[in-house]
Protein backbone atom coordinates (compact mmCIF):
# COMPACT_ATOMS: atom_id res chain seq x y z
CA UNK A 1 0.00 0.00 0.00
CA UNK A 2 2.88 2.36 0.83
CA UNK A 3 4.47 1.56 -2.54
CA UNK A 4 1.21 2.55 -4.27
CA UNK A 5 0.91 5.69 -2.16
CA UNK A 6 4.44 6.84 -3.06
CA UNK A 7 3.63 6.32 -6.76
CA UNK A 8 0.16 7.82 -6.85
CA UNK A 9 0.07 10.19 -3.83
CA UNK A 10 -3.51 9.03 -3.40
CA UNK A 11 -4.51 10.33 0.02
CA UNK A 12 -7.01 7.53 0.55
CA UNK A 13 -4.10 5.09 0.72
CA UNK A 14 -2.38 7.30 3.28
CA UNK A 15 -5.63 7.51 5.28
CA UNK A 16 -5.72 3.73 5.52
CA UNK A 17 -2.11 3.49 6.70
CA UNK A 18 -2.71 6.29 9.21
CA UNK A 19 -5.86 4.62 10.53
CA UNK A 20 -4.01 1.35 11.06
CA UNK A 21 -0.98 2.78 12.88
CA UNK A 22 -2.01 6.05 14.55
CA UNK A 23 -2.63 4.54 18.02
CA UNK A 24 0.50 2.40 17.83
CA UNK A 25 2.69 5.38 16.95
CA UNK A 26 1.34 7.64 19.71
CA UNK A 27 1.90 4.84 22.25
CA UNK A 28 5.41 4.16 20.90
CA UNK A 29 6.43 7.82 21.03
CA UNK A 30 4.97 7.98 24.55
CA UNK A 31 7.45 5.35 25.69
CA UNK A 32 10.27 7.77 24.87
CA UNK A 33 8.96 11.19 25.87
CA UNK A 34 6.33 10.15 28.45
CA UNK A 35 4.05 13.10 27.80
CA UNK A 36 0.88 12.96 25.70
CA UNK A 37 1.30 16.33 23.93
CA UNK A 38 4.91 15.53 23.06
CA UNK A 39 4.08 11.98 22.04
CA UNK A 40 1.35 13.27 19.71
CA UNK A 41 3.72 15.85 18.27
CA UNK A 42 6.30 13.15 17.52
CA UNK A 43 3.71 10.75 16.10
CA UNK A 44 2.51 13.54 13.79
CA UNK A 45 6.10 14.13 12.70
CA UNK A 46 6.35 10.43 11.86
CA UNK A 47 3.22 10.58 9.68
CA UNK A 48 4.36 13.79 7.99
CA UNK A 49 7.53 11.92 7.02
CA UNK A 50 5.44 9.07 5.68
CA UNK A 51 3.28 11.53 3.71
CA UNK A 52 6.22 13.37 2.18
CA UNK A 53 8.34 10.29 1.55
CA UNK A 54 9.51 10.15 -2.07
CA UNK A 55 10.46 6.50 -2.10
CA UNK A 56 9.75 3.28 -0.32
CA UNK A 57 11.50 0.01 -1.06
CA UNK A 58 9.01 -2.82 -1.29
CA UNK A 59 11.46 -5.31 0.21
CA UNK A 60 10.87 -3.77 3.67
CA UNK A 61 7.52 -4.19 5.39
CA UNK A 62 5.70 -0.94 6.07
CA UNK A 63 5.48 -1.77 9.78
CA UNK A 64 9.23 -2.15 10.31
CA UNK A 65 9.95 0.86 8.10
CA UNK A 66 7.49 2.91 10.16
CA UNK A 67 9.13 1.82 13.41
CA UNK A 68 12.52 2.78 11.98
CA UNK A 69 11.22 6.27 11.12
CA UNK A 70 9.55 6.58 14.54
CA UNK A 71 12.67 5.42 16.39
CA UNK A 72 14.78 8.03 14.58
CA UNK A 73 12.24 10.77 15.29
CA UNK A 74 11.97 9.85 19.00
CA UNK A 75 15.67 9.33 19.67
CA UNK A 76 16.55 12.57 17.86
CA UNK A 77 14.02 14.35 20.06
CA UNK A 78 15.59 12.87 23.19
CA UNK A 79 18.98 14.24 22.15
CA UNK A 80 17.72 17.78 22.60
CA UNK A 81 19.06 19.51 25.71
CA UNK A 82 15.61 20.09 27.20
CA UNK A 83 15.17 16.32 27.63
CA UNK A 84 18.41 15.80 29.57
CA UNK A 85 17.67 14.53 33.09
CA UNK A 86 13.98 15.20 32.64
CA UNK A 87 11.96 12.04 33.04
CA UNK A 88 8.43 12.86 34.07
CA UNK A 89 6.13 10.39 35.76
CA UNK A 90 2.97 9.62 33.81
CA UNK A 91 -0.44 9.23 35.33
CA UNK A 92 -0.76 5.76 33.89
CA UNK A 93 2.64 4.55 35.14
CA UNK A 94 2.53 1.05 36.56
CA UNK A 95 2.88 1.59 40.28
CA UNK A 96 2.95 -2.05 41.37
CA UNK A 97 6.64 -2.69 40.72
CA UNK A 98 7.04 -5.44 43.27
CA UNK A 99 9.84 -3.57 44.99
CA UNK A 100 8.26 -3.17 48.38
CA UNK A 101 5.41 -0.80 49.12
CA UNK A 102 1.90 -1.67 48.03
CA UNK A 103 0.20 0.26 45.27
CA UNK A 104 -2.79 0.54 47.56
CA UNK A 105 -1.03 2.97 49.91
CA UNK A 106 0.09 6.51 48.95
CA UNK A 107 3.64 5.65 49.99
CA UNK A 108 3.59 2.52 47.88
CA UNK A 109 2.30 4.43 44.85
CA UNK A 110 5.00 7.06 45.28
CA UNK A 111 7.61 4.31 45.58
CA UNK A 112 6.32 2.68 42.42
CA UNK A 113 6.36 5.94 40.47
CA UNK A 114 9.89 6.71 41.66
CA UNK A 115 11.04 3.22 40.60
CA UNK A 116 9.43 3.71 37.21
CA UNK A 117 11.13 7.08 36.74
CA UNK A 118 14.51 5.70 37.79
CA UNK A 119 14.21 2.82 35.34
CA UNK A 120 13.16 5.14 32.52
CA UNK A 121 16.18 7.29 33.29
CA UNK A 122 18.41 4.22 33.03
CA UNK A 123 16.69 3.13 29.80
CA UNK A 124 17.15 6.57 28.23
CA UNK A 125 20.82 6.62 29.17
CA UNK A 126 21.52 3.43 27.21
CA UNK A 127 23.00 3.39 23.68
CA UNK A 128 20.38 4.04 21.00
CA UNK A 129 20.29 0.47 19.68
CA UNK A 130 19.83 -1.03 23.14
CA UNK A 131 17.13 1.45 24.04
CA UNK A 132 15.25 0.99 20.77
CA UNK A 133 15.62 -2.81 20.64
CA UNK A 134 14.46 -3.22 24.23
CA UNK A 135 11.50 -0.87 23.77
CA UNK A 136 10.39 -2.57 20.56
CA UNK A 137 10.80 -6.09 21.94
CA UNK A 138 9.68 -5.82 25.55
CA UNK A 139 7.22 -2.97 25.42
CA UNK A 140 5.89 -3.12 21.84
CA UNK A 141 6.01 -6.87 21.27
CA UNK A 142 7.91 -6.83 17.96
CA UNK A 143 9.74 -10.02 17.00
CA UNK A 144 13.53 -10.16 16.83
CA UNK A 145 13.29 -10.45 13.03
CA UNK A 146 11.13 -7.30 12.82
CA UNK A 147 13.51 -5.37 15.07
CA UNK A 148 16.44 -6.62 13.02
CA UNK A 149 14.81 -5.15 9.89
CA UNK A 150 13.79 -1.90 11.58
CA UNK A 151 17.23 -1.22 13.07
CA UNK A 152 19.32 -2.80 10.28
CA UNK A 153 20.98 -5.12 12.80
CA UNK A 154 21.48 -8.88 12.71
CA UNK A 155 19.15 -10.97 14.87
CA UNK A 156 22.01 -11.96 17.24
CA UNK A 157 22.90 -8.26 17.58
CA UNK A 158 19.27 -7.49 18.43
CA UNK A 159 19.20 -10.23 21.08
CA UNK A 160 22.46 -8.94 22.53
CA UNK A 161 21.16 -5.35 22.63
CA UNK A 162 17.98 -6.43 24.44
CA UNK A 163 19.96 -8.56 26.88
CA UNK A 164 22.35 -5.72 27.72
CA UNK A 165 19.48 -3.30 28.26
CA UNK A 166 17.76 -5.76 30.54
CA UNK A 167 20.97 -6.32 32.50
CA UNK A 168 21.29 -2.58 33.12
CA UNK A 169 17.67 -2.36 34.23
CA UNK A 170 17.99 -5.41 36.44
CA UNK A 171 21.06 -3.91 38.11
CA UNK A 172 19.06 -0.76 38.87
CA UNK A 173 16.19 -2.83 40.29
CA UNK A 174 18.66 -4.74 42.43
CA UNK A 175 20.10 -1.47 43.71
CA UNK A 176 16.63 -0.08 44.41
CA UNK A 177 15.77 -3.24 46.33
CA UNK A 178 18.43 -2.47 48.89
CA UNK A 179 17.16 -0.96 52.16
CA UNK A 180 17.01 2.85 52.10
CA UNK A 181 17.68 2.96 48.35
CA UNK A 182 14.72 5.31 48.01
CA UNK A 183 15.18 7.81 50.80
CA UNK A 184 12.56 10.46 51.58
CA UNK A 185 14.86 12.97 49.83
CA UNK A 186 14.84 11.02 46.58
CA UNK A 187 11.09 10.36 46.68
CA UNK A 188 9.94 13.93 46.40
Amino acid sequence: MMVRFVKTRDRRLFDELFRRYRNRMVAYAGRYVRSRPQAEELAQEVFVRVYTSKKFEARATFKTWLYRVATNVCLNELRKPEHKNRIEPMENDEVESGLGGSAETPEGQLHGRETSMRLHTVLHSLPRNQQAAFTMARLEGLSHAEISEALSLSVPAVKSAIHRALEALRAEVSRLSEPDALTPETVS
Binding site: T8, R22, A43, Q44, S116, R170
Partner: protein, 170 residues
Protein backbone atom coordinates in the same frame (compact mmCIF):
# COMPACT_ATOMS: atom_id res chain seq x y z
CA UNK B 1 28.19 -23.81 34.61
CA UNK B 2 30.01 -22.90 31.36
CA UNK B 3 29.71 -19.34 29.93
CA UNK B 4 27.62 -20.75 27.07
CA UNK B 5 25.22 -22.51 29.47
CA UNK B 6 25.02 -19.36 31.57
CA UNK B 7 24.20 -17.31 28.49
CA UNK B 8 21.37 -19.68 27.55
CA UNK B 9 20.11 -19.59 31.10
CA UNK B 10 20.02 -15.78 30.99
CA UNK B 11 18.04 -15.89 27.73
CA UNK B 12 15.63 -18.42 29.21
CA UNK B 13 15.25 -16.44 32.43
CA UNK B 14 14.28 -13.41 30.35
CA UNK B 15 11.75 -15.59 28.55
CA UNK B 16 10.46 -16.83 31.92
CA UNK B 17 9.90 -13.21 32.95
CA UNK B 18 7.25 -13.10 30.21
CA UNK B 19 5.64 -16.24 31.57
CA UNK B 20 7.80 -18.63 29.59
CA UNK B 21 5.40 -18.75 26.62
CA UNK B 22 8.31 -18.72 24.17
CA UNK B 23 9.86 -21.84 25.76
CA UNK B 24 8.94 -25.44 25.14
CA UNK B 25 6.91 -27.02 27.97
CA UNK B 26 9.80 -29.38 28.79
CA UNK B 27 12.32 -26.54 28.97
CA UNK B 28 9.94 -24.41 31.01
CA UNK B 29 9.43 -27.19 33.54
CA UNK B 30 13.18 -27.92 33.80
CA UNK B 31 13.95 -24.24 34.25
CA UNK B 32 11.29 -23.83 36.91
CA UNK B 33 12.80 -26.71 38.87
CA UNK B 34 16.20 -25.03 38.64
CA UNK B 35 14.84 -21.63 39.72
CA UNK B 36 13.11 -23.21 42.72
CA UNK B 37 16.45 -24.48 43.95
CA UNK B 38 18.70 -21.54 42.94
CA UNK B 39 18.55 -18.27 44.88
CA UNK B 40 20.61 -16.34 42.28
CA UNK B 41 18.18 -17.25 39.49
CA UNK B 42 15.20 -16.46 41.72
CA UNK B 43 16.64 -12.99 42.33
CA UNK B 44 17.41 -12.48 38.63
CA UNK B 45 13.88 -13.51 37.62
CA UNK B 46 12.34 -11.27 40.28
CA UNK B 47 14.43 -8.25 39.19
CA UNK B 48 13.61 -8.81 35.52
CA UNK B 49 9.89 -9.06 36.22
CA UNK B 50 10.06 -5.98 38.46
CA UNK B 51 11.86 -3.96 35.76
CA UNK B 52 9.37 -4.93 33.07
CA UNK B 53 6.42 -4.21 35.36
CA UNK B 54 7.78 -0.78 36.31
CA UNK B 55 8.39 0.20 32.66
CA UNK B 56 5.22 -1.25 31.26
CA UNK B 57 2.84 1.67 31.49
CA UNK B 58 -0.48 1.60 29.69
CA UNK B 59 -0.41 2.76 26.09
CA UNK B 60 -1.06 6.45 25.51
CA UNK B 61 -4.04 6.99 23.23
CA UNK B 62 -4.33 9.88 20.75
CA UNK B 63 -6.45 12.76 21.96
CA UNK B 64 -9.54 13.98 20.10
CA UNK B 65 -7.77 16.69 18.13
CA UNK B 66 -4.91 14.46 16.99
CA UNK B 67 -6.25 13.60 13.54
CA UNK B 68 -7.35 17.17 12.76
CA UNK B 69 -3.94 18.55 13.78
CA UNK B 70 -2.13 16.07 11.52
CA UNK B 71 -4.38 16.70 8.51
CA UNK B 72 -3.96 20.46 8.94
CA UNK B 73 -0.20 19.90 8.63
CA UNK B 74 -0.67 17.73 5.53
CA UNK B 75 -2.95 20.35 3.92
CA UNK B 76 -0.31 22.99 4.59
CA UNK B 77 2.30 20.78 2.92
CA UNK B 78 0.05 20.29 -0.11
CA UNK B 79 -0.64 24.02 -0.31
CA UNK B 80 3.09 24.78 -0.37
CA UNK B 81 3.56 22.58 -3.41
CA UNK B 82 1.85 24.21 -6.45
CA UNK B 83 0.00 21.61 -8.44
CA UNK B 84 1.38 22.42 -11.89
CA UNK B 85 0.40 20.57 -15.04
CA UNK B 86 3.84 18.98 -15.29
CA UNK B 87 3.79 17.95 -11.62
CA UNK B 88 0.44 16.27 -12.15
CA UNK B 89 1.68 14.72 -15.38
CA UNK B 90 4.76 13.34 -13.60
CA UNK B 91 2.56 11.73 -10.96
CA UNK B 92 0.25 10.38 -13.65
CA UNK B 93 3.16 9.00 -15.67
CA UNK B 94 3.68 5.78 -13.73
CA UNK B 95 5.84 3.03 -15.32
CA UNK B 96 2.88 0.97 -16.64
CA UNK B 97 1.45 4.09 -18.31
CA UNK B 98 4.90 4.95 -19.65
CA UNK B 99 5.20 1.48 -21.21
CA UNK B 100 1.70 1.78 -22.72
CA UNK B 101 2.58 5.18 -24.22
CA UNK B 102 5.80 3.74 -25.64
CA UNK B 103 3.90 0.84 -27.19
CA UNK B 104 1.37 3.21 -28.82
CA UNK B 105 4.20 5.37 -30.18
CA UNK B 106 6.00 2.31 -31.57
CA UNK B 107 2.84 1.04 -33.31
CA UNK B 108 2.21 4.52 -34.78
CA UNK B 109 5.75 4.67 -36.18
CA UNK B 110 5.41 1.20 -37.70
CA UNK B 111 2.13 2.17 -39.39
CA UNK B 112 3.65 5.37 -40.80
CA UNK B 113 6.74 3.56 -42.05
CA UNK B 114 4.66 0.79 -43.62
CA UNK B 115 2.34 3.27 -45.32
CA UNK B 116 5.32 5.16 -46.79
CA UNK B 117 6.81 1.97 -48.23
CA UNK B 118 3.45 0.99 -49.70
CA UNK B 119 3.15 -2.16 -47.71
CA UNK B 120 -0.18 -1.20 -46.21
CA UNK B 121 -1.36 1.18 -48.95
CA UNK B 122 -4.81 1.01 -50.44
CA UNK B 123 -5.23 0.04 -54.14
CA UNK B 124 -6.36 3.52 -55.23
CA UNK B 125 -3.21 5.10 -53.77
CA UNK B 126 -0.82 2.58 -55.31
CA UNK B 127 -1.18 3.95 -58.87
CA UNK B 128 0.32 7.40 -58.21
CA UNK B 129 3.13 5.75 -56.27
CA UNK B 130 3.81 3.38 -59.17
CA UNK B 131 3.88 6.32 -61.56
CA UNK B 132 6.37 8.08 -59.39
CA UNK B 133 8.55 5.01 -59.33
CA UNK B 134 8.29 4.73 -63.11
CA UNK B 135 9.31 8.35 -63.46
CA UNK B 136 12.32 7.67 -61.30
CA UNK B 137 13.25 4.73 -63.49
CA UNK B 138 12.95 6.85 -66.66
CA UNK B 139 15.16 9.50 -65.13
CA UNK B 140 17.65 6.86 -64.10
CA UNK B 141 17.64 5.41 -67.60
CA UNK B 142 18.31 8.85 -69.07
CA UNK B 143 21.20 9.26 -66.72
CA UNK B 144 22.65 5.90 -67.67
CA UNK B 145 22.30 6.80 -71.35
CA UNK B 146 24.04 10.10 -70.73
CA UNK B 147 26.85 8.26 -69.06
CA UNK B 148 27.09 5.86 -72.02
CA UNK B 149 27.15 8.82 -74.38
CA UNK B 150 29.93 10.39 -72.41
CA UNK B 151 31.81 7.11 -72.47
CA UNK B 152 31.33 6.96 -76.23
CA UNK B 153 32.54 10.52 -76.56
CA UNK B 154 35.61 9.61 -74.58
CA UNK B 155 36.17 6.69 -76.89
CA UNK B 156 35.85 8.98 -79.94
CA UNK B 157 38.35 11.34 -78.48
CA UNK B 158 40.69 8.46 -77.85
CA UNK B 159 40.35 7.35 -81.46
CA UNK B 160 41.06 10.85 -82.62
CA UNK B 161 44.20 10.95 -80.48
CA UNK B 162 45.33 7.59 -81.83
CA UNK B 163 44.63 8.77 -85.41
CA UNK B 164 46.60 11.93 -84.81
CA UNK B 165 49.50 9.91 -83.45
CA UNK B 166 49.36 7.60 -86.41
CA UNK B 167 49.45 10.59 -88.75
CA UNK B 168 52.46 12.03 -86.94
CA UNK B 169 54.29 8.72 -87.07
CA UNK B 170 53.29 8.15 -90.65
Amino acid sequence: MSPSEEHHLQDDLEAMADGGRALSPARREALQQHIDSCQACQAALHDTQAALAALNSEDLQPSEGFDAALYAKLDAIDAEQPSSFWANFRHWLTPPRLYALGAVAAVTLVVIAASQSGGLSEPETSAPLAQAELLDLVQDQQMYESLELLRDLDMLEDLEVIEALDLEEG
